[in-house]
Symmetry: C2
Subunit: 392 residues, 2 copies
């Protein structure tokens, strides 16, 4: 298919449905995911998931987390580290046990249950980040706990996937896994602790020295892709690196460079959101047993995250614990990776694969309305002109 046509269909339909949802007082982000379902193989069949869509989606979520990093106050994120760790750890353990337990009770095999449990662990913070950024809520305590917890959650989930994959392949290399854990934690602590100070020194000095056009933007992009690539290398998701790059650069970049990066984010985020919807296959639910499993897995996925993360954040009181736990609900790319790995190793059946994807899409779509509810006390009703314009 022609490149311009594909861009038009995905971007145009996402924005059209976002506009529609906003008019119905629903979160625009849900409209953008729904656009993916509509144009995808299940309904209209205009766009199929491909290397193109996953590339655009991957760049979209990278720029999204970069933007969130740019807006977060790193020092306060550090202060909330203890709570974030508790939320991250319990938000992995409880969903894993719940998913595993559900499938064992249901009578499925050990490996299938382990893979479902793993698929339920990793929060896809992109969805939550987009809602919080669009509504101007990134400075709230709950938002910072969510972002910190998402980093920890991501490390744990990736380690878990390593263990589970090794189990399915019949070889568990404990020293290798320990090494990965150490590298990941060391990398994150190093960048989070030193990145901002280093960049605040380096960027102003380089500014006058470089001859290439828009040199600060170019340097920011190199740091973004560099840290994203390094993250993947040490064993965590590329978006963690993108987030750290944003945090490191927050004070070092002038507003103009923020705007340039923001343009890229605005273009690419709809591809990330629509891509989630693209992967949904509705046809498999013609079989009633698959549908039944799906309808059980979705509430388990949501309630187990809410319970685990809620307990983790409980010391901040009911309101903040609720906001944090609802913000941790969405699942995304990681689920698809677990599901694909499981399918590739013959550890899960195609119907379980479809259930996992269905769970991810549903959880992603339910999060924005949940968050709207949880933050309703601080979300003033927007005045008709200026303000309504900002809310995406």
């Amino acid at each position: 298919m022609n490149l311009a046509v594909a861009m038009l269909i995905i971007f145009g339909s996402a924005k059209l449905l976002a506009e529609l949802f906003e008019r119905l007082h629903q979160p625009g982000i849900v409209g953008e995911i729904l656009a993916g379902i509509l144009i995808g193989p299940s309904v209209l069949g205009w766009i199929s998931p491909s290397e193109f869509t996953s590339t655009m989606a991957g760049l979209g979520v990278m720029f999204l987390l970069f933007r969130v990093g740019l807006e977060v106050e790193a020092s306060e994120l550090m202060k909330l580290g203890g709570t974030a760790a508790a939320v991250g750890i319990l938000g992995v353990i409880v969903p894993f046990m719940s998913g595993w337990g559900l499938f064992r009770i249901w009578g499925k095999g050990q490996m299938e249950a382990v893979f479902l449990g793993t698929a339920l662990t990793a929060t896809s913070v992109g969805i939550t980040a987009q809602v919080l950024a669009a509504k101007g809520l990134l400075h709230r305590t709950a938002s910072k706990i969510i972002l910190g917890a998402a980093v920890i959650d991501d490390i744990l989930a990736l380690l878990l996937l390593g263990v589970v994959t090794s189990m399915a392949e019949g070889r568990v290399n404990v020293p290798e896994l320990a090494m990965t854990a150490l590298l990941a934690v060391g990398f994150i602590l190093l960048v989070a602790g030193w990145g901002r100070r280093t960049m605040s020194h380096v960027m102003p000095r380089l500014k006058g020295k470089l001859r290439v056009g828009e040199s600060q933007f170019a340097l920011a992009m190199v740091l973004l892709f560099g840290l994203a690539a390094l993250s993947a290398k040490v064993g965590v998701a590329a978006i963690i690196g993108a987030f750290l790059a944003g945090m490191a650069l927050a004070e070092a970049l002038p507003p103009r460079v923020h705007d340039l990066a923001h343009g890229v984010t605005e273009l690419l985020v709809p591809f990330f959101l629509a891509n989630i919807g693209l992967h949904l296959k509705l046809a498999v639910f013609a079989e009633s047993s698959t549908l039944l499993v799906a309808l059980l897995v979705v509430p388990i996925a949501i309630l187990s995250k809410v319970a685990g993360c809620g307990i983790g954040a409980s010391r901040f009181g009911r309101v903040i614990a609720m906001r944090v736990s609802l913000g941790m609900i969405p699942r995304g790319e990681f689920c698809m990776v677990v599901a694909q790995t499981g399918l590739g190793l013959n550890a899960i059946s195609p119907s379980t694969y479809a259930v996992i994807v269905f769970m991810a899409v549903t959880a992603a779509m339910l999060t924005p309305p949940f968050l709207k509810l949880a933050f309703r006390s601080v979300l003033a009703p927007p005045p008709p002109e200026e303000e309504a314009f900002r809310i995406g």
Copy 2:
């Protein structure tokens, strides 16, 4: 390969070599093409041409032409239409005849000669546009003639490719080709004539009515992809549609939206430039006869464009005619399409394919220094601080 790693290698190497070239008082754009050769299969082999690189390159040149359209004064472009047409038409006829003649004299077959001639026709205006935009020269008379001529040149070259392909397949459908020509010309005249007035009316009215975030940017993107898709549909290159979208929106968009779009352009243009270099295969020139042909075709490609376009613009005097004709030298995507079509139809040999690609890369790399020379009288030596920073 990991997405972040690929982004880092292509973007990072392009910017690194651009910086190096600027420091050596050479055009940065040549450095970015050279980066593609360096990281490509011929030298380091880090990146191979793939769907990913061509997608990013395609988006890059689309946004580049969109940006150029945003900066061009449409009314003045129209006033120069006659000269632009002369430049466009002669800039297709002379190179075609030269390329065809060279191969016939050389003793190659009729189809091979016709394909070489066709490959020499279409100017890849992206290279010139990037130089002119970076140096702030888009408002010069020569620049407007180049942009107008590039549109006409593109229509003619695509029609020619249609004829040549039909010939190679042994069926020429004259009514179909006439219809394509009519559609293309009609579409361009319609958008160029009415687009700006319509958008200046429509955009301010929509502004307050839409609820989706950054709605003007979203509308601009939809128009960009929409006109690019339509262009491809009516038979001209997508970049022509992108250029027309930019022209239509020039007055309707506030500076903030210009900045957002500019961010995307800054990110993607290095992919367009590096992608040109990626396609070069140096190994084929081990055979001395291929090398000899290549060394003959390159000067023919350059001189025939300069002659044809120079005559077309001669009424504006020697200086402007020289600027216009040098700006029309670069070849790019279209060459690759002709070469691939010819190879697919067995009309040209693999060595001719390699020669055509070599010619495109060489012509693209020679243009920026030529342009720098042609515009030297209006390019003030940059003061060391502020100004040096802008030149890309």
